[in-house]
Amino acid sequence: MTDITPDSVLRLHNRVSVRPEPFGALLYHFGTRRLSFLKSPALLAVVDALQDDRTVADALGVAEVPDAMRPAMLRAITTLRDSEMLVEVAA
């Protein structure tokens, strides 16, 4: 699979249900029947910000993610893409 870069555009898979929780969120994929646990409210904000066809870089900006967290965020977005919670949108 391709690497996720700041220019990648992704959105939530249409069969994923996102449920905010105090610690972040739970994501359930009705197709794969997998459950993902987002451990950070900031990551939830990034996932929400991706919904308007923003690039990863833009979404991180909108969610006001501190620089120090950005590498971890990129890895998290990659994990979510790998588990099909997020899907890449063709450029």
């Binding site: 249900s17 449920r19 905010p20 929780e21 105090p22 610690f23 739970l26 359930y28 009705f30 197709g31 029947r33 459950l35 646990f37 451990k39």
Partner: protein
Amino acid sequence: MSSTVLDRPAPAPRLIDHFESGLNSPICLTWELTYACNLSCIHCLSASGRRDPRELSTDECKAVIDELQRMQVFYVNIGGGEPTVRSDFWEIVDYATSHDIGVKFSTNGVKITSEIAEKLALNDYVDIQISMDGATAEVNDAIRGPGSYDLAIRALERLSAAGMTRLKLSVVCTRTNIGQLDQFKEIADRYGAQLRLTRLRPAGRGADSWHDLRPTQEQQRELYQWLVARGEEVLTGDSFFHLSALGESLPGLNLCGAGRVVCLIDPIGDVYACPFAIHEEFLAGNIRGEGGFGEVWRESELFTRLRAPQTGGACNSCPFFDTCRGGCMAAKFFTGLPLDGPDPECVRGFGDDALAASSGERPKPSGDHSHRTSPPRPRPVALKLEMQRPTAPMAPPVSACNVSPLAGMQLN
């Protein structure tokens, strides 16, 4: 300036800590739609058979679904009794799946015609689980009744023929079927099903037969080794985490989800912590109350208590407490053991000691919906009691009355 060990922030809460303190809504929940059933399995956790006249109506069921949708409950595990004997069953399933709620339902196969199998195969939001407790008719039917094995196999055949992939075979592990684990896997593979093994609890009619049906300590070891070898290929619903003290932990979070991430809604709308704990002690409320299910989930006294940090009590000092967590509260409750002590099947033997030291008094399951007439309810299997002179219990006595009135007697 480099950070030192002292500067490090406290470790983030683990996943398990978040789940133990409860969620805004359940991840999923068990929903027993009816106490009616065409069978009379001797270990039935809900003592099912006869319909309760106070059953939720179709409209009430739909209102529950509406609420679960608002709460974003991801899916429901529908069971009973035999849920398909409700004439509105398919209507309820369709209503759920068209309102963002996945359905996984459990059945003995009685209503699974080829036509139904084909419809199920087409609905991506529905999973099905066929119950079977013996890999042969001889073993299965001794528990589930004559003809029940054939019902299950026929359902599996039809579902497989219809191309149903979201199919599970669910087996309750008992003394009589532990020797058939490979055969169960073979049956599951034959029909393209995932095998799921679950633990027998002394709940419902299971309370009567538990001492004779539960796996022996040796069989528990055999089961544990088999599960370790199979890894994540075989599902267990994490119900065997009390076996984790035998060695490496089994895959899973080793967490009891009752009242924290899951619960039970019963056929008359009562909300319990879990389907193995149908008793006033674990009754959180009723969905027919003003605040519906949501209020019960969020604010009931019982669930608030379960979500507070739990003390391991007598188990705290055990090196395996971290994975065993003191086992199953329903198993402890229905064998008359205290909840802050060992599981009755503690693999280190502390449960046996606690049982030997206890008064033998057990709570009765709250409801008995068993068939009264035909088929007749199987009589409890004659119990063989071997009472030895009580030795000093390994756990502190749990009450002043810790000496059995039968001490010293030997019964056959």
